[in-house]
């Protein structure tokens, strides 16, 4: 036992070295994220690479075993919606050009697979198998046909890491579907993961948002496109005080249930997806040949392809 049989001086030196290592780790934890990033990327590209690749392989095999037809139909519907929206955006851009307004880049999205790692540090985060080579950037929104899932935080060439709405650092600007009340949504952790909700803060004190009202992204900040469904209001928060109100919101999409997602590419935050989900229009009856099932409680209405 080298550490125990040594002299007192040796033991002190050993302890001092151990404390130095702990302090180094502590400084790294408290320091800016740029200190950690190169080490993290290095480890992911070397020691962890086989395990991440294996996770991707297993996830794709699992996805194939699950209800493939339903998943693909959902993805195709979303791709069709996104494509249709791109056409509308191009038309919009042409009109803006006619009006001598600054031309905006239309919405662009890519369908990709979501990989969830099972370590404690990865809680509230997930990987997607699309990266900067595909046009994914930091801040790209991630969503499914049900609604918002999260936002990209770090990007490498072939993959990206994102946080979902349960992560403590996640924020999104939201509004009621009628555009009357705005607020910022952040995670409100429950005692168990299944109890996690969103809290919409900063709503005006005079606002009266009824339970069941739909909350969508407002497009403020130009990170998330306007009009992506987030969730529905459950109730006013009990701890509400002061001049503003806060509402508890039940998100439409549970992050753990998402497998195939759409990711926004560069400048996708400038677009308006309200029409993609018809968030302000009355809910239409789905066509007989629609790939999207009839809307049930808790799921935002979708546009038929």
């Amino acid at each position: 036992m080298p550490g125990l049989s040594g002299t007192r001086r040796h033991r002190r030196r050993d302890l001092a070295l151990a404390i130095s290592v702990l302090l180094f780790a502590f400084f790294l934890l408290l320091g800016p994220s740029v200190w950690s990033r190169p080490i993290r990327h290095g480890l992911r590209a070397t020691a962890l690479k086989p395990f991440i690749a294996m996770r991707g392989w297993i996830a794709s095999r699992q996805a194939e075993r699950e209800d493939l037809r339903e998943v693909r139909a959902e993805r195709d519907s979303l791709a069709a919606v996104a494509t249709a929206q791109a056409v509308l955006a191009e038309e919009n851009a042409r009109l803006r050009g006619l009006l001598a307004l600054r031309e905006r880049v239309g919405p662009r999205f890519i369908a990709t697979q979501l990989l969830r790692l099972g370590t404690g540090a990865a809680e509230g985060t997930f990987l997607i198998d699309a990266g900067s080579d595909d046009g994914v950037v930091v801040g790209s929104p991630v969503f499914t046909v049900g609604g918002l899932v999260g936002v990209v935080r770090e990007v490498s060439g072939q993959s990206a890491q994102a946080v979902d709405w349960t992560h403590p650092e996640f924020r999104v600007s939201g509004m009621t579907a009628d555009g009357q009340v705005y607020g910022v949504l952040e995670a409100r952790r429950g005692s168990y993961r299944e109890e996690d909700l969103l809290l919409m803060t900063g709503a005006p004190f005079h606002s009266d948002v009824r339970p069941g009202s739909r909350i969508v992204t407002s497009g403020r900040g130009e990170v998330f496109p306007r009009g992506i469904p987030i969730g529905e209001v459950l109730a006013i928060e009990s701890a509400d005080t002061g001049w503003r109100k806060s509402y508890m919101v039940r998100p439409y999409v549970r992050p753990e249930s998402a497998a195939q997602v759409l990711v926004g590419l560069r400048d996708s935050g400038l677009s308006d997806l309200s029409t993609a989900w018809e968030t302000q229009a009355p809910r239409p009856a789905p066509a007989a040949d629609s790939l999207i099932p009839p809307v049930t409680t808790g799921t935002p209405p979708s546009r038929s392809p």
Binding site: M1, P2, G3, L4, G6, D14, L15, L17, A18, V21, L22, F24, A25, F26, F27, L28, L29, L30, G31, S33, W35, S36, I39, R40, L43, R44, A47, L48, F51, I52, M54, R55, I58, A59, L115, R116, L117, G118, T119, G120, A121, A122, E123, T125, R153, E154, Q161, V163, H167, P168, A187, R188, R189, G190, S191
Partner: protein, 160 residues
Amino acid sequence: MRPGAWAVFVAILVFVHLFLHAGFGLGGSAPDLLAIAVLLTARRAPAARVTLLALFLGFLDDALGVRNLGARSVSLGIAAVLGTWSKRVVEGEGPLFVMAYLFAGKWVADATLLVMVPNGLPAGAVVANLSTWSLLAALYAAVAGTMALAGFRLVMGPDA
């Protein structure tokens, strides 16, 4: 004990941990073999060497998330220092002691991490987490670690 045998044992624990947690995405369904590797090594190596191991293994674990590196290293490192100190208090390594030692060490590591890293949990949920899930995770690690050590001794001999 053959030189390097313990290092191979630790490497196997780390590989299996990453295989189950990152590769299969099992999360809490798989035991925390990194904590087991650090805690068992703390009974066999000087504090500086064990904290270096904790630093590296903590980096591996934290690199799969988006938070700054270091949180897991500190929590494992504190458990490691306490583990090296425990050698002066208790010499033997019977199965019951190993189980109790791994249980306590894993719980201390989890508690340190939960308190140190901002996670948005309300205070009540932190206490509930420490008194339920952390205890179950510690028990799971204790059983798995004791079995792993028993397997190692089966291969290397009872004195290993």
